[in-house]
């Protein structure tokens, strides 16, 4: 065990000047937290299971003490990892109800500070909930711990590209804003050299986006698959290579096997982080087995609930339930996050911990059939853009028989374009949906900042 891989990554002034000290207190504390997480998550199974049991006990005890809602819900049970499944599933409506009636379950006297947060609504009605300072700190440190575990070069730049928010893009046809972000390493920024971290918010400004990407080598490009589709649409994988991209950190969404192959052939790594706004990090993609995600057991207990399953591409997937071990402000215990997946006890890479695969989330990403089936509905931007010229688009399942395609930046479309789109949907779904194609000058995203390519009234 050594830190040889950190050569040339450390600042000359990394260490303390004080006698008998190696790191200064703030740096030492941050370093300690990372080590604890790594020890817990890569150490002995029986040890971390025991720890999870104790954390679960403390969380449920806190919830019962501070909340009538939770007292009724948990009753006299003393949940353990083994008996957790006896507790009822918590859904979004439950959370909304608990928060509305009781607010945060931590007070000033707890000295860990609570603040209101909200999910984006990409997976349904936005959920308002409380988080504590501890959660924010954990989320930041867990990301750094992942870099340590994967022995990443901290000097490499990270560039996050996301869609402009509705506020940013209000009334505009296009938008671009780039800003450097500091502080992702926290106190360890005094110890390690680190690359530039940049955030680009963008809408319909491809040239400006590429120009911005050229300013600082985006060694690690962080974006959703839909944004990556747009970038690939501009210049393919060759563009990424030309920009100096070494890794795509994919968040949210789903990537296709074709994309995986193209990236593999180009020597660009892909790793995805599976997380939710409610709980923070849930799992991190295995660097050796694409598509397999090691659960962040220092943060959550993940169950797959076989009482609700979906068939996707011939696989039976179960509903994912999350228990967030540090959710003292608004408890998430057996929370239905809206995703489906498979859960294994370990990973083929040798990691001895719960491992998710075939994650399909959120349920909103499914097409629903009259016969009760679900099917994941994923497609590339070029599936639409190759059929019709448009500034934006959205596919929406309006009811069990009807799919609506909004085409932005157009007042009308011709018959060929319409038939092409209808054919695409029917071929993709394997069913004779009633497909309505609506050209509009601007799509009404209804204030949803994610501007999802596919939405559904179901799920």
């Amino acid at each position: 065990m050594d830190f040889n891989y950190l050569h040339n990554t450390m600042k000359k002034s990394a260490y303390s000047k004080r006698p008998f000290s190696i790191l200064d207190p703030a740096q030492r504390d941050a370093f300690a937290f990372i080590l604890e997480i790594i020890l817990l998550e890569t150490g002995a199974r029986s040890s971390w299971e025991h720890w999870q049991d104790q954390q679960l006990k403390a969380l449920t005890s806190h919830a019962k003490k501070r909340s009538e809602f939770w007292k009724r819900r948990i009753g006299s049970k003393k949940p353990t990892l083994k008996t957790l499944k006896l507790l009822p599933v918590l859904d979004r409506k439950d959370v909304i109800k608990q928060v509305a009636s009781e607010g945060a379950l931590i007070t000033e006297a707890d000295k860990i500070g609570a603040s209101k947060n909200s999910s984006s609504g990409s997976s349904g009605t936005p959920v308002g909930f409380y988080v504590s300072r501890v959660n924010g700190r954990y989320n930041a440190v867990r990301g750094i711990a992942q870099d340590f575990m994967e022995q990443r070069n901290l000097r490499e730049n990270r560039v996050k590209v996301s869609s402009a928010t509705s506020d940013q893009a209000a009334g505009k046809k296009s938008y671009i804003k780039a800003a450097n972000i500091s502080g992702w390493l926290g106190p360890l920024a005094n110890v390690f050299e680190h690359g530039i971290t940049k955030k680009i918010s963008y809408l319909n400004e491809s040239d400006a986006l590429i120009k911005e990407l050229r300013k600082v080598t985006p060694h690690h490009l962080i974006c959703s698959p839909s944004i990556m589709d747009i970038i690939l649409g501009i210049g393919g994988v060759e563009l990424l290579k030309g920009l100096g991209v070494k890794r795509w950190i994919q968040f949210a969404g789903h990537r296709s096997r074709d994309v995986e192959k193209d990236f593999r052939d180009a020597g660009i790594a892909i790793s995805a982080n599976y997380s939710s706004e409610e709980t923070g990090p849930i799992a991190f993609e295995c660097s050796e087995n694409p598509g397999y995600y090691h659960v962040a057991i220092s943060n959550v207990i993940v169950e797959t609930d076989d009482s609700l399953t979906a068939e996707v591409n011939g696989e039976t997937l179960s509903r994912v339930l999350i228990t967030h071990l540090h959710s003292y402000a608004t408890p998430f215990i057996r929370y239905d996050i809206g995703d489906f997946a498979k859960l294994s006890r370990s990973c083929e890479c040798g990691h001895d911990g719960p491992t998710l695969s075939s994650i399909y989330g959120r349920a909103k990403q499914f097409i629903f059939y009259p016969d009760g089936r679900y099917m994941s509905f994923y497609y590339d931007a070029k599936d639409i853009q190759s059929r019709v010229e448009c500034s934006e688009y959205q596919i929406h399942q309006q009811d069990i028989e009807t799919i609506v395609i909004h085409i932005g930046g157009r007042t009308s479309i011709d018959e060929n374009e319409e038939n092409d789109l209808i054919g695409f949907i029917r071929h993709k779904t394997g069913a004779n949906f009633n497909v309505v194609v609506r050209p509009v000058s601007e799509i009404d995203w209804r204030g949803n900042p994610k501007q999802l390519g596919f939405t559904s009234v179901f799920g």
Partner: protein, 459 residues
């Protein structure tokens, strides 16, 4: 980076039972201290050099402030590592002078406990000095860090064997005592399972020793080369293999290439720790390059002083000078520890740090010739026992022309035995010393607990 190799060593109750915590405070502190050492010693070289510079500067400031001896000694040279060679060398008698006139340079007001220590006198007159509680704490952490770096299994048993009576029973002919040591892991004993750690003092009690070693597998034996020789006398390397020995931690002195080979062939690792009572750990033998020692830079700055060299086996070795960065109670700055060695910038294993080899110490281990040369006198006990039946022996260089061999348990020797011993000395030294052989019933060790096989009155 992961702690996967620790899986089988971790206790189920390794982690904290407190909410929002992973390790309890003292465990967290201990783990962080150990990992800080590993980060410092295996991380970036420039950062480490800067830290050493800062620690050295703080040490010299402290010494100058509190000690007239040190103000006079160090003059006005600024305390930088590049100026280190301008500082005068500190000898044993200097340490005695400073201690006698000034005592400890830490007081009650510093709130760091101190204690008076002494060297054993094996390398000359005993040196008294003060050490602080921080020094003892560091020593324990550094040994633990070494086990982590080498990814040792903490569950393995360790037994230290001293082939001598303990200090309370020095006059006995036969002695046998076993004591167990509570924990090598300190506060981390609640996190990791540990093997049995024991100490055996044995003097002419081979039967009891073998019985004891048979009770609990001695996975690691800690012993000096002459002690290991005694064990090998009882049954060779085969005995060690039978007992289940996996590793010999060799303390002080040097070992022969023949020993290296026989252990290597038997699959038993050897690692030596180079240390001294005055400063604690100095360097640790490389697990990949036997005979090469990585300097413990978290503890010492080491120089090889070419103003005093010696030739050993065709190699020019330089005097070793040590600056103990944490010696606030009794400063050791450019301290002549009495050893000679070669110092390289790195190790062939890839370790990027100062590396010692050809350590010959202490100077007392050398045969000195009238022409000023030194050579180490290395031999195995077997080589004496093969030639003469005796209970104990000692070889002593009385002056530049005379070597005295005391043979214990005998009143007289026959001609063949005398000739064989003369031949032995001639072969080992390549010179015609006057060899005086003195059979005695009991050797007078002058109260020296180490009972060294070779001593010298010539420096």
């Amino acid at each position: 980076m992961d702690f996967g190799f620790l899986k089988s060593s971790m206790k189920e109750t390794a982690f904290s039972g407190r909410s929002l915590s992973i390790l309890d405070n003292s465990e967290r502190d201990a783990l962080t201290s150990v990992m800080e050492i590993i980060l410092l010693e295996t991380g970036d070289r420039q950062a480490r050099a800067q830290w050493q510079e800062q620690q050295f500067s703080a040490l010299v400031d402290h010494a100058r402030k509190r000690s007239k001896f040190w103000r006079n000694k160090t003059g006005v040279a600024s305390a930088t590592l590049s100026n280190l060679k301008l500082f005068p060398i500190l000898s044993r008698s200097d340490v005695n002078v400073q201690l006698t006139s000034e005592g400890a340079l830490l007081t009650k007001a510093d709130r760091i406990g101190i204690s008076m220590e002494s060297t054993s006198g094996s390398s000359g007159k005993p040196v008294k000095f003060y050490a602080s509680v921080a020094n003892a704490k560091y020593m324990a952490l550094r040994l633990f860090a070494q086990d982590l770096m080498e990814q040792r299994d903490f569950r393995e048993n360790k037994v230290k064997i001293d082939f001598e009576a303990d200090e309370n029973s020095a006059s006995s002919d036969k002695y046998f005592k076993v004591s167990t040591i509570k924990s090598g892991c300190g506060p981390l004993a609640t996190v990791f399972e540990e093997g049995r750690i024991s100490k055996i003092n044995t003097l002419n009690t081979n039967k009891e020793l073998l019985e004891e070693l048979g009770k609990h597998t001695p996975h690691t034996i800690i012993a000096r080369p002459n002690g290991m020789d005694s064990l090998l006398e009882m049954g060779g390397v085969e005995l060690l293999v039978q007992l289940g020995v996996k590793r010999w931690i060799q303390m002080s002195e040097s070992r022969s290439e023949e020993t290296d080979k026989s252990f290597r062939d038997a699959g038993i690792d050897i690692s030596a720790n180079y240390s001294c009572e005055e400063v604690g750990p100095i360097a640790f033998e490389c697990s990949k390059c036997p005979g090469h020692y990585h300097v413990a830079e978290s503890n010492v700055v080491l120089e090889a002083d070419d103003s005093l060299t010696t030739e050993v086996d065709g190699e020019i070795l330089s005097r070793v000078l040590l600056t103990h960065l944490h010696s606030y109670a009794t400063p050791f700055i450019r301290y002549d520890v009495g050893d000679f060695a070669k110092l390289s910038n790195t190790c062939d294993c890839g370790h990027d740090g100062p590396t010692l080899s050809h350590i010959y110490g202490r100077a007392k281990r050398f045969i000195c010739f009238p022409d000023g040369r030194y050579i180490p006198l290395q031999f195995r006990a077997k080589e004496i026992f093969d030639h003469v039946d005796c209970t104990e022996f000692q070889i002593h260089q009385k002056d530049l022309k005379t070597i005295v061999i005391h043979i214990g348990g005998r009143e007289s020797l026959n001609e063949n035995e005398v000739a064989a011993l003369n031949e032995f000395i001639r072969n080992r030294t390549g010179a015609d010393f006057d060899v005086v052989i003195r059979p005695v019933l009991e050797i007078d060790w002058y109260g020296n607990p180490k009972r060294l096989g070779f001593t010298s009155a010539v420096s």
